[in-house]
């Protein structure tokens, strides 16, 4: 099965964007190979708040990438370059994950991560920790959230001071809960 990977830049204090979506704190490191990164994926998942600023900036749909935007308010006809998913987000992602293909990039934001993680549909959390404290912003995992337990699987330090940390989401607790529910029923 292909993986759903939450790959984001994060400030050291846990924010993936400024309060107004600012990304000016994200350092561009020439050693990060974005082509190689993008090549690992063929599908992007994003929430409305992540998608809208990208669309306004003129980007959004990326060549060779299927882009799904999860929103109950966006109208499909206004965003022909993406697929708007208004209902059954979890079922949609579960079905996509079961398909053949490259990995699926959970592009943000935190709310989409929270709901997909709660459904056991996120396989990795890969944060590029930028050496900056923002003090406020849009969190990696917004409250109220359940704890997401992780296992460190890799790390890389860049010359600019970015530290890329790779974690696998530990799903054992969720599996036990499902087993118990099955036993009871």
């Amino acid at each position: 099965m292909r993986r759903v990977r939450y790959v984001v830049a994060m400030s050291l204090d846990g924010y993936i964007a400024g309060l107004n979506g600012e990304a000016d704190w994200i350092i561009m490191d020439p050693d990060i190979d974005f082509d190689a990164l993008f090549d690992q994926f063929d599908t992007l998942l994003m929430g409305r708040q992540t998608c809208e600023p990208m669309m306004k900036a003129g980007s959004g749909a990326m060549p060779g990438m299927k882009t799904l935007v999860f929103s109950r308010t966006l109208r499909q006809e206004d965003y022909p370059q993406v697929t708007v998913v208004a209902e059954d987000a979890k079922e949609t992602v579960a079905a996509l994950r079961a398909e053949e293909g490259k990995d699926i990039w959970l592009f943000g934001g935190g709310l989409l991560f929270r709901s997909l993680a709660a459904a056991g549909l996120v396989d990795t959390v890969e944060v590029a920790v930028i050496p900056v404290l923002l003090g406020s912003g849009i969190p990696l995992l917004p409250p109220p959230a359940n704890q997401v337990k992780l296992k460190l699987t890799g790390h890389k330090v860049y010359k600019t001071g970015i530290v890329a940390l790779e974690y696998a989401v530990q799903r054992d607790a969720g599996k036990t809960a499902i087993k118990q529910r099955k036993k009871r029923s």
Binding site: L12, G14, P131, V132, L133, L140, P144, Q147, Y167
Partner: protein, 190 residues
């Protein structure tokens, strides 16, 4: 001038405890390498600064550990107990602990005065309010953040008092076999 180091356990999303102080995300099985890292960090320290709330738990706890030969952490207990401590408080009038003095003045003034004295390194371990204020006033010289493998979404932050962006310099990031990554930063002072 003496350095003020911060050593805290943290989730990947920047919390040092759950909303109600929960520590269920903490890795307890430290490997030897990590223990050595902490020893090296602690060795030059001859002063611990604490907020009053943490002090009331921390000081008696480690005094008890220090006095218990059966406790595997006795050595740490001795170190914490024997190291002179400064407790920051607005409410206490006299120190109720050995080897401990109170600081009741302005936080930045008191810390600056401590740094100007002769001696080894100064270290802070918490709690959340006290550390938040140290960070807000730019008083930390070395951040040693022990990043535990969990995101909790809600909890006690230590960086939210900052009212402007603070750039840092990464000194070293060290991953340990137990799953903790220690991130060592210094503030970028322009």
């Amino acid at each position: 001038m003496r350095k003020l180091k911060l050593q805290v356990q943290m989730t990947i999303d920047g919390y040092i405890a759950g909303q109600n102080g929960e520590m269920d995300w903490l890795m307890f099985q430290w490997d030897d390498e990590l223990k050595h890292y902490v020893d090296a960090l602690t060795e030059p320290v001859d002063c611990i600064v604490l907020g009053r709330k943490l002090a009331q738990g921390f000081i008696p706890h480690w005094a008890g550990v220090a006095a218990d030969p059966d406790n595997p952490e006795q050595e740490s207990g001795r170190k914490f107990t024997d190291t002179p401590k400064v407790v920051f408080t607005q409410t206490l009038d006299t120190s109720e602990w050995n080897n401990t003095v109170l600081a009741k003045g302005d936080l930045a003034d008191e810390i600056t005065r401590l740094k100007q004295q002769d001696g080894g390194d100064i270290i802070a371990y918490g709690g959340a309010n006290f550390v938040s204020n140290l960070i807000k006033h730019g008083l930390i010289d070395e951040f040693h953040l022990f990043i535990n493998p969990a995101a909790i979404g809600n909890g006690m932050p230590i960086f939210q008092e900052l009212d402007a962006k603070q750039n840092l310099i990464l000194v070293k990031a060290t991953p340990f076999a137990c799953g903790i990554v220690v991130m060592h930063y210094e503030p970028k002072r322009d």
